[in-house]
């Protein structure tokens, strides 16, 4: 078990494409870190560089105390779970799991012991003599996990290990992965494009976009204090609603309503935030409420009336869709990329109707085609600079990437509480 340090890592392909740009990240001993981002953001390349399957163009990679830039994968003491599992089809489940130990010239009796131990953990004992071809998707996935576990490596690297499973199995295996990692306490780097997996699994989540690390932090940190538009739009489901807005005095003019800016937000904007400044406002669907159901914190926000266009009931919650006409138009490269990737994060242009999703209590009486009074929590509104997507409201105290305070709260007991702050410091 050991710490993994990416120190200004860059990957440049011979054709000049930079897949990973100057990435610095410290993964603490025993930590579960998720690399997340849309496809093509460089997260898999970063993982493969840690594994040694890709050369590092520039920068330094340390596992434990040694620099491993030029070490072969076999000398790095890491185990990897591949997206398509990459099980050896000509070997039985037991042989698959014991292959690494066999190469390491471990006693056959010791191999058998470790394999059967891992098989018990993964509920594979009755399948040990079968070939991968005769296993179901979930079983294959568990064999791939088992192959990593038996070796007791210093780190697990997982490249979208659950993306080939159907939805139900994925949720099940997600819990399983989390349980195994907690139990073994092995340093784990996990790559996924699924923000739900990232939020539920990781001690810390690193969001990447176009080869650049955007933000590292605990899931709650990313959710509450996204550093920029991209992180805000990527984390959370349904995605954050974005709309053009204008600051006038202490009022934020949203397409749906005028909102009084709370004291904290104004403080963050600084004195220079003059009147008439154009910003992008981001409001999470869960920060809306049915005005009739708001409790005694009603003065924190503003009530407005809209026509509900569509209601999706999930049982435990309602998604109410409505639209608002924007007066201004805002262009943002990051949002365009988000929109291309997930359909989320579209900012309507001037005069266009922008669709907004609100998550309401199922007891709400909103109905399709009817007017409804909704309430928005002004303290939760995020503001972004339209020029560079930077957050204007992110809490500066929690901004430090993966500050110990942010991840420390999530750490399982027994981990070093005084570890160094990770990320780009």
């Amino acid at each position: 078990m050991s710490q993994i340090v990416l120190d200004h890592i860059t990957k440049k392909y011979p054709d000049g494409f930079e897949a990973v740009k100057d990435m610095s990240l410290t993964i603490e001993d025993g930590e579960f870190v998720i690399l997340v981002g849309p496809s093509g953001c460089g997260k898999s390349t970063a993982l493969r560089m840690i594994a040694g399957l890709e050369d590092i163009t520039d920068g330094e990679l340390r596992i434990g105390d040694s620099v491993v830039n030029d070490k072969a994968p076999k000398d790095r003491d890491i185990a990897m779970v591949f997206q398509n599992y990459a099980l050896y089809p000509h070997m039985t489940v037991a042989e698959n799991m014991g292959f690494a130990l066999k190469l390491a010239k471990v006693d056959q009796s010791e191999i058998d012991r470790k394999v059967s131990e891992a098989a018990k953990v993964l509920d594979l004992t009755q399948h040990l003599d079968r070939k991968p071809a005769n296993l179901s998707g979930g079983q294959r996935q568990r064999v791939a996990m088992g192959r990593a576990i038996v070796r007791d490596p210093s780190a697990f690297l997982m490249d979208e290990p659950l993306s080939n499973l159907d939805a139900k199995l994925r949720v099940q295996m997600r819990t399983e992965v989390s349980r195994i990692q907690q139990r073994l306490g092995t340093t784990t780097v996990y790559v996924t494009h699924d923000q739900t997996e990232a939020m539920t699994l990781g001690d810390r989540v690193a969001v990447m976009r176009s080869g650049v690390l955007q933000q590292v932090g605990s899931p709650m940190d990313l959710y509450n204090n996204p550093k920029n538009l991209f992180v805000a739009g990527f984390i959370g489901s349904p995605a954050m609603n974005f709309m053009p807005a204008q600051i006038e005095g202490d009022t934020l003019k949203l397409p749906v309503a005028d909102v009084r800016l709370p004291e904290e937000l104004r403080g963050n904007l600084g004195g220079s935030a003059g009147d008439g400044r154009q910003v992008i406002a981001g409001i999470r669907p869960e920060d809306f409420e049915d005005a009739h159901q708001v409790g005694d914190h009603k003065d924190r926000g503003t009530t407005f009336t809209v026509t509900i266009e569509l209601v999706e009931s999930m049982g435990s919650e309602l998604y109410a869709h409505f639209s608002a006409v924007s007066e201004h138009s805002i262009e943002s490269e990051e949002l365009r990329e988000l929109a291309e990737d997930s359909g989320a994060g579209e900012v309507p242009g001037a005069g266009e109707e922008g669709e907004i999703v609100a998550r309401l209590d199922p007891a709400s009486k909103v109905a399709r085609g009817k007017e409804a009074e909704l309430w928005v929590d002004a303290t939760k509104v995020k503001l972004f600079d339209p020029a560079d997507g930077r957050s204007l409201t992110a809490d500066s105290t929690a901004e430090g990437n993966g500050a110990p305070s942010a991840s420390g709260g999530q750490s399982p007991a027994g981990r070093d509480p005084e570890r160094e702050p990770g990320g780009r410091g």
């Binding site: 990897m80 050896y88 071809a133």
Partner: protein, 275 residues
């Protein structure tokens, strides 16, 4: 797929015709080999069993030695050719290196080169350097002419194997050679056997090189030896003996194909990845 009775009848007859067309010469030569010398010219398809011809060829030193030469030379040529070809094919399938296109087209050029055009100079060259009428003297040209075919066959198979498997092996602690030997080659086994059979058949069947580059029982293979068969006496045609020898030389090929057929057909890569 359902067939009407008429379709079934049509296909049955068609298949029967093809099988007959392919097997009648074989049956004829087998029947010839079982005739005694005085029955050979009787024109009948079947005139009793006589193993006289087989006794004759196996009692002759020429044929026994030729059989040993044929087996040895073909087997060694196959082994070397497949070992080299699998490594070359692996590199061609996996790596991008300068000159890859040149190597591929060079290999193709060798395969298309007519053997008859070099056999004369080889004869002189082999005599000069002492390879004439030796096993290496035949193994070398067989290897050269079969390598391109083996490389092409094998690299097609290697390309089918997911690269992740090899990377998984590397992460599991295998050296590149171990990953190749323990993961890639077993998975490419159908390809390896296919290529091996093709190479073996080429070496086994070759007449041109064997006839030109050998002269004695030291290295003469069966096809070459057959050409020098003589009858029981000066005045008898050795037709029966030649037929018997022809039957004997087909047997190893049949056995080999039967053994490896199952491995060729077996879809060994099934289940490597989710599919």
């Amino acid at each position: 797929m359902t067939h009407t009775p008429r379709e079934k009848a049509f296909w049955s007859i068609a298949i029967l015709v093809v099988i007959l067309y392919a097997l009648i010469p074989v049956a004829w030569i087998t029947s010839l080999s079982l005739k005694s010398p005085d029955q050979v010219a009787d024109g009948k398809f079947f005139s009793g069993f006589s193993f006289e011809n087989y006794d004759q060829i196996f009692s002759e030193n020429t044929f026994n030695a030729a059989l040993v030469n044929s087996l040895g030379i073909a087997a060694i040529a196959t082994l070397i050719s497949i070992a080299l070809a699998s490594m070359a094919a692996y590199a061609l399938a996996r790596l991008n290196f300068a000159g890859k296109a040149v190597i591929l087209s060079g290999a193709l050029a060798v395969a298309m080169f007519p053997p008859i055009s070099i056999v004369g100079s080889l004869f002189d060259l082999w005599r000069a350097i002492g390879l004439y009428d030796t096993w290496p003297g035949l193994i070398l040209p067989y290897m050269t002419f079969t390598l391109p075919l083996a490389i092409y066959t094998l690299s097609a198979f290697f390309r089918e194997i997911p690269w992740e498997l090899e990377q998984a092996a590397q992460v599991d602690g295998a050296t590149p050679f171990q990953a190749f030997r323990k993961v890639i080659v077993p998975l490419a086994a159908p390809g390896v056997f296919t290529a091996a059979i093709l190479v073996f058949i080429f070496a086994w069947n070759d007449f041109l090189f064997a006839n030109t580059l050998t002269s004695t029982t030291d290295a003469q293979t069966v096809p070459a030896a057959l050409a020098f068969f003589s009858g029981g006496s000066r005045f008898t045609e050795p037709i029966g003996a030649i037929s018997a020898a022809a039957v004997v030389v087909t047997i190893p090929i049949i056995i080999m194909v039967l053994i490896f057929q199952r491995r060729i057909v077996a879809g060994l890569t099934a289940g490597a990845v989710k599919g």
